[in-house]
């Protein structure tokens, strides 16, 4: 699947179980997404492939970023939910770490489906690997379908504005658009605020070269101290806040929704502030 041989996949799967620690196999067996005779769900999510592809992510999770996850009990064990967090770090390792936390440090595990930008399907390999791991393009139709099927979605309202912001703006939340709130209201699902501490320092960007971004049709072209957007081994601390329930109409005026969105944004900011206060050092 996705160009990776069966033998390599088996090895990766064993590595996943090893990195996941004792009981990982039993926990992962509780993941039972719908599968057809080709082993995939209608979106192309393949849980076997996920277990293989998770290995390098788990290595980053356990050994490189040494992630500490707090409040995972706030992520519901079943049923739909919307995880809403801050986005940073030039490359979306934060999304991968949130997903890894829900996969190996939560019992029962949840396969979080991150919503990706619509330029991801234009990327070779990335598009395929993401799809097999359950990531999908964040169109409103996709979100509605997945939530009504009881899935957990991960949303970064800041999008690339947050992901590729310069170092000087670390831990300053960018504008949160209203789409995720309309989605939550329309489907009556809880929002779990997520604060990712650490990713904001992993790849300090000093410049955003817009002409190059245009040339490659990337949303941004950040230049970091090292020139490459590769992350430094910062320690991640991921804080999952208490579920927030909102009532009202998804078709309310923007002003009404903005108030609700501000409460979520404040909750994320609160998690970040608390996490920063607790943290003693960026790297450990």
């Amino acid at each position: 699947m996705a160009g990776i041989g069966d033998e390599i996949q088996d090895r990766l799967r064993r590595w996943t179980l090893e990195l996941g620690g004792p009981g990982t196999r039993e926990r992962l067996e509780k993941l039972t997404p719908p599968r057809n005779e080709f082993g995939v769900d209608p979106y192309g999510f393949d849980v076997d492939f996920l277990q293989a592809a998770a290995a390098p992510v788990l290595w980053l999770y356990r050994k490189y970023f040494r992630v500490k996850a707090f409040g995972l009990e706030n992520v519901p064990n079943e049923g739909p939910a919307l995880l809403v967090g801050n986005h940073s770090g030039q490359l979306p390792f934060d999304a991968a770490m949130v997903e890894a936390a829900c996969l190996v440090d939560k019992d029962p595990p949840r396969a979080v489906r991150a919503l990706v930008d619509k330029w991801v399907p234009t990327l070779p390999f990335v598009s395929t690997i993401f799809a097999r791991c359950g990531q999908i393009v964040g169109t409103p139709q996709n979100c509605r379908r997945l939530l009504s099927a009881g899935e957990v979605l991960m949303v970064f309202p800041e999008g690339t504005r947050g992901l590729n912001k310069p170092f000087a703006q670390r831990y300053q939340l960018q504008r949160f658009p209203l789409g995720f709130m309309r989605l939550a209201l329309e489907n009556d699902v809880p929002i779990i605020p997520v604060g990712v501490v650490g990713a904001e320092e992993q790849a300090p960007a000093i410049l955003d070269l817009q002409p190059l971004a245009k040339l490659f049709s990337f949303p941004h072209f950040p230049v970091t101290l090292t020139g490459l957007p590769l992350p430094m081994p910062v320690r991640y601390r991921i804080w999952f806040g208490e579920p927030m329930r909102f009532t009202g109409s998804a078709d309310d005026e923007d002003a009404v929704l903005e108030g609700k969105v501000a409460r979520v944004r404040d909750a994320v900011a609160g998690l970040l502030a608390g996490g920063l206060a607790e943290r003693e050092h960026v790297f450990w």
């Binding site: 699947m1 996705a2 160009g3 057809n36 080709f38 209608p42 979106y43 990327l123």
Partner: protein, 315 residues
């Protein structure tokens, strides 16, 4: 289930799908065929008119009365044919036919469109609903006729509320006798793929399509419907199922190469179709299922494997 109309006209009856549909309906209703091609070894009671649907004699047949429904399958998709002639045949032909239908008391028109009218695109949702704009021609000019015909039928639906118009947009039709781009592609021993891309694809068996058309011909069904088969499969898994050895080409080379192969007639795969190997164009078929109780008979595996059967008549 409500009975089929007492007589059904099928355009394109001599095509592989038309013949299948005629055989399916013929036991239950009177079948009247229209095609420029002759119809050989068929039951005597199937009335065939070897006519171009743009010809005035077509209306004579309707004037004699009795035709209650039309299944319009007679559209040309051959990418090698003269575009002007195909356009006139497809679009002007459909307009003429629908005009005749409105004047001569036809109660039901079923147009066989295609889910390809939406077009593959990186930003597509995983399951396109019927309301999606028909952008398929943006990069695949070959679909311009089909989109025009589909939209013409939509406006016909509003202009003639008394006639039950049904537009069916089935996913890739695959089967032992069909010779369209997706079936031909699956028949290749060494198909070209786009390196690093593996979209989910949807297929439907040719017999299931005929059953869907028969369902749409029954009274009470009206509207625009996506028609899906048993599910979705990654392109790579479909090729593996058929034992193919794909030739993956990088996305920046695949289009020029496929174009050259097509121009030099080394392959019959139209270059525009490469988008289908790279991006999603899958549809949500739940409306047809909900409104008509549609259920395909063939599984994905059976549908894919059906292309392996030796075709009885290669044109």
């Amino acid at each position: 289930m409500r009975a089929l109309p007492a007589s059904v006209a099928i355009t394109g009856i001599a095509g592989n799908l038309g013949r299948k549909l005629a055989r399916l309906l013929h036991g239950e209703t009177r079948v009247v065929g229209f095609d420029r091609r002759p119809l050989s070894d068929f039951p005597k009671d199937v009335e065939h008119h070897q006519l171009d649907i743009r010809k005035a004699q077509v209306e004579d047949v309707f004037r004699r009365g009795g035709i209650q429904a039309i299944a319009h399958l007679g559209l040309k998709h051959d990418p090698r044919e003269d575009a002007d002639e195909a356009h006139s045949f497809n679009v002007a032909g459909t307009q003429k036919l629908l005009d005749i239908a409105a004047r001569h008391g036809v109660k039901k028109v079923v147009l066989l469109s295609s889910a390809n009218v939406y077009g593959p695109a990186p930003g597509n949702p995983n399951f396109l609903p019927e309301e999606t704009p028909l952008l398929g021609a943006a990069r695949l000019p070959g679909y311009r006729d089909l989109i025009e015909v589909d939209m013409y039928a939509q406006s016909f639906m509003w202009q003639h509320p008394a006639i039950e118009t049904v537009i069916l947009r089935p996913v890739n039709i695959v089967g032992p006798t069909v010779r369209n781009a997706p079936s031909n592609y699956l028949r290749l021993e060494r198909p070209v793929t786009v390196l690093g891309f593996d979209p989910m694809v949807q297929v439907i068996h040719e017999e299931d399509v005929c059953r869907a058309i028969a369902l749409a011909l029954r009274p009470g069904v009206r509207g625009v419907y996506n028609v899906t088969g048993a599910g979705e499969v990654p392109l790579s898994a479909a090729l593996r199922e058929l034992g193919r050895t794909p030739i993956p080409l990088p996305h920046f080379l695949v289009r020029p190469i496929v174009k050259r192969l097509f121009e030099t007639r080394l392959s019959s795969y139209p270059p525009g179709e490469v988008d289908y190997l790279q991006y999603l164009c899958a549809v949500d078929g739940s409306r047809f299922i909900r409104d008509t109780g549609w259920a395909p008979r063939y599984s994905i595996r059976e549908t894919l494997r059906s292309v392996l059967a030796r075709s009885p008549a290669a044109p």
